[in-house]
Amino acid sequence: TMLGVVTTDALVASDVWRKMVQIAVNRSFNQITVDGDTSTNDTVIALASGLSGSTRISSLISHEAIQLQACLDAVMQGLAKSIAWDGEGATCLIEVSVNGAENEADAAKVARSVASSSLAKAAVYGRDPNWGRIACAAGYAGIPFQPNKLRISLGEILLMEGGQPLPFDRAAASNYLKKAGETHGTVGIHISIGDGAGRGQAWGCDLSYDYVKINAEYTT
């Protein structure tokens, strides 16, 4: 289960605030995954006191609303990433960035599909730069794209371009994963699926033996 409480002293109208919060949740908490299980209790509550004395925001497209939305997105993304970073049994955070999609929602869906893949997560834990599993998880996301437009890199290391697997320094790629695991750092998976303007991110973590151990003991 994830729970969140967000507070602000900005002054904002109720209907605008409720829309802003859902947009921010879609760009943050709804883009994380640890085990693919959607809890019975997931909740984010967001409260705005209005005590900052700022201009009252009554339109979602006003300049002030765009500024406040960016702040809300940032705080929720920071918290969402810390949940994925602290995933049960995790040794590293996995950040999947997708671009070239038709729109933000499509990119987000592909990103989350890859971040949710148990096989991709296990490969990261095994320090295996398994681009095939990443391509597979992008392919079953339910978003159509030209396979010959698929581009995948792991950190700075290009693994696939134009749908063609590339020769790459396997030891360097494995070391990139190993270092992230040793420092509880971040593994960056960058995917391009075409020429569209849509881009999105998702966050997850690697899948370790400890995940099973923790959850075999935590019983109802």
Partner: protein, 213 residues
């Protein structure tokens, strides 16, 4: 039964927070950074084992504009159903009560009654309307909350409310379950030329694939 707020905030370390770049600066304080907010977290005897804080409260001095996003799992927990109803009834809220240990999910009508009783008891203490009190729960699914322990801890929880960073940090610890770290962050930025603050806390480590609406 209730540990002090300062002890609570040191129970587990804080997660590193990776904020995206932007026209803001990170400041201390989490949920209490924004004007008008106080928080507290303490051990109320709800957890199955150990004495890590397990009860948190975030309160606002004024009627705060409220919003919520909730699981789309159809076996929604009692606090989720309760909050959705409360947000339908009122555009504002004044407090969020969070318990860790029992999820109060799959607990039927009795579980829903527990939520009502806790909200009413806190509303009375804070002298506000019950629908201005929102509730979140996390922990083992299928178990009802240890209501007596929770109700007995409310006076101490309310008197521990603080607008300090410690208040926010103790609340962030008290909402954790299998988390290894607490999650709390705040930023300051400008909106329309005025300085505003946005802060928050979260928990989560397992059963994580949110689809909230």
């Amino acid at each position: 039964m209730s540990s002090s707020v300062s002890e609570a905030s040191n129970y587990i370390t804080a997660a590193p927070i990776f904020l995206p770049d932007g026209p803001w600066k990170q400041i201390p304080g989490g949920v209490t950074a924004a004007k008008g907010f106080k928080a507290a977290g303490l051990y109320g005897g709800l957890r199955a084992k150990g004495e890590k804080p397990d009860l948190a409260l975030v309160a606002c001095d004024v009627d705060a504009i409220s919003a919520g996003a909730f699981t789309t799992n159809v076996v929604a927990a009692a606090p989720v159903v309760y909050c959705k109803n409360a947000l339908d009834m009122s555009k504002t809220a004044r407090a969020v009560l969070i318990n860790a240990g029992q999820a109060n999910a799959a607990t039927g009508d009795a579980g829903y009654q527990d939520v009502i009783e806790c909200a009413n008891a806190l509303a009375k203490l804070l002298q506000m309307r019950p629908e201005e009190v929102l509730i979140e729960s996390t922990g083992v699914i299928g178990h009802r909350i240890k209501k007596d322990a929770l109700l007995n801890s409310l006076p101490k929880l309310v008197s521990s409310l603080s607008s300090s960073t410690e208040g926010a940090d103790s609340a962030a610890v008290a909402i954790t379950t299998t988390d290894l770290v607490s999650k709390s962050v705040a930023i300051e930025s400008e909106v329309g030329g005025t300085n505003i603050r946005v802060g928050g806390m979260a928990k989560g480590s397992g059963m994580i694939h949110p689809n909230m609406a």
